[in-house]
Symmetry: C2
Subunit: 231 residues, 2 copies
DNA sequence: TCCTGTGAATGTCTTCACAGCC
DNA sequence: GGCTGTGAAGACATTCACAGGA
């Protein structure tokens, strides 16, 4: 199950520049899940893993694992399985995770502050290196190790820290304006938590996480089955 | 663009009970986006809307809007468009959002506390009515309006508040155990923020949000285009 | 013998294009 | 005339089933 998510939108008017083989979107969305499983296996000193076992860990079926991995190349050994460390490296490389990508969070309200404190980003290669807010009252305050800067300082921060990705955690009403400023500051990869549709110019990448949307989808499927009282 | 997400996993071994027409998963994932757009239109006193305009607001194309809405029924008027209020009601009803669904958050660390304070859930029909943690040191503390209860109190809280949905915001290591306890307490709709694969019994619904995964997907597409320096 | 890698078959989603109705 | 609703075509994703190499 779990097909995963759509690819980032990209500003209109341009074809995907395929260099060599193209990896389907659905596969791309599963690669991080395989990566997580491989990190676990690596930690438990497992040398090789079969598609069956990896499928179990990732919550998909074995055929899908084999098909997905075959898009990256022939990294397995017939009759044996996949070498965990080697595959781990290949998946990391394919995802562009051989080095870190510094992140700025824009909007330090409840959600922004929580994301800033959430260790999961840094652990997985996306250190939060700057916080930015448009509210002068917040500028200068600290959240964890970081001081909050003003939105106007964005271009300088981007240059200084080599920021690659911007996370929008503002109210929906200002999210488009923030996205525009991120792009103007040279950030072309954006993750949007504001519950609104954004548009970005060609060449920029945009993904979204809508927290309430997930609950609404749960609600739909819950009512489909009627009042299912399992347990 | 933006196809959206996969449906919740459901415990294996059972067919979807279709009552009348079946709505594709991809469509279900877009309904909340249409809903949001319709709420906006309703707020701005707009009486009718064309598929073209709704598509623009939702960030999809018009053909998709028409196809999606046609699964709900023939609620539009040819030559005119859709009545905003009527469509708003129909989409709400289809999503099971004609009444609220109380939510419990399990795990009140950084992320859990932020989600508890995040107003977006309550606004959109999912009031957070209880907080639960396994750490005795946290029990009794308050976050916003709510006191933190012990995980052991879950069954009582579920009964008392009529809780329908559980949000897991614990470390990955304990997420499966928490899921089991949620199900045992009678909660069969779960949203998992822990970065791990969970399994639930038949009849239970599970969706996940993996925050770092989204960044990893961005990373993949960024490196695909090379160092695209747009702006 | 075992498990990968992959064409072929099947299933699902999107887009097209236009009939049908207001 | 204008816009919805929908079959049909096309694109995409998943699953099957087995050839092929260790």
């Amino acid at each position: 199950m779990v097909r995963g998510h759509a690819p980032p939108e990209r500003g209109s008017g341009q074809e995907r520049p395929r260099r060599g083989r193209r990896i389907p979107e659905a596969t791309v969305a599963r690669l991080p899940v395989y990566l997580r499983s491989l990190v676990e296996l690596s930690g438990s000193q497992t040398a090789t893993v079969s598609s069956e076992r990896l499928a179990e860990l990732a919550g998909v079926n074995a055929a899908k694992v084999r098909k997905d991995l075959s898009y990256l190349g022939s990294y397995g050994t017939r009759g044996v399985g996949y070498d965990v460390e080697y595959l781990l490296y290949q998946v990391s490389r394919e995802l562009g995770l051989t080095h870190d990508w510094p992140v700025v969070i824009v909007g330090v309200g409840n959600l922004g502050a929580a994301l800033a404190n959430y260790g999961g980003f840094g652990e997985r290669g996306f250190p939060v290196v700057a916080l930015v807010d448009a509210d002068p009252a917040k500028v200068g305050q600290r959240v964890g190790d970081l001081e909050i800067h003003h939105l106007d300082d964005l271009p300088g921060l981007v240059r200084e820290h080599g920021i690659a990705i911007g996370i929008i955690a503002t109210p929906a009403s200002v999210a488009q304006a923030v996205a525009d400023r991120l792009v103007a500051a040279g950030i072309t990869s954006i993750l949007n938590f504001a519950p609104t549709v954004l548009s970005v110019p060609a060449g920029a990448l945009l993904r979204k996480v809508d927290l309430a949307l997930e609950l609404q989808i749960l609600s739909f499927y819950r009512q489909q089955v009627g009042a299912a009282d399992s347990a």
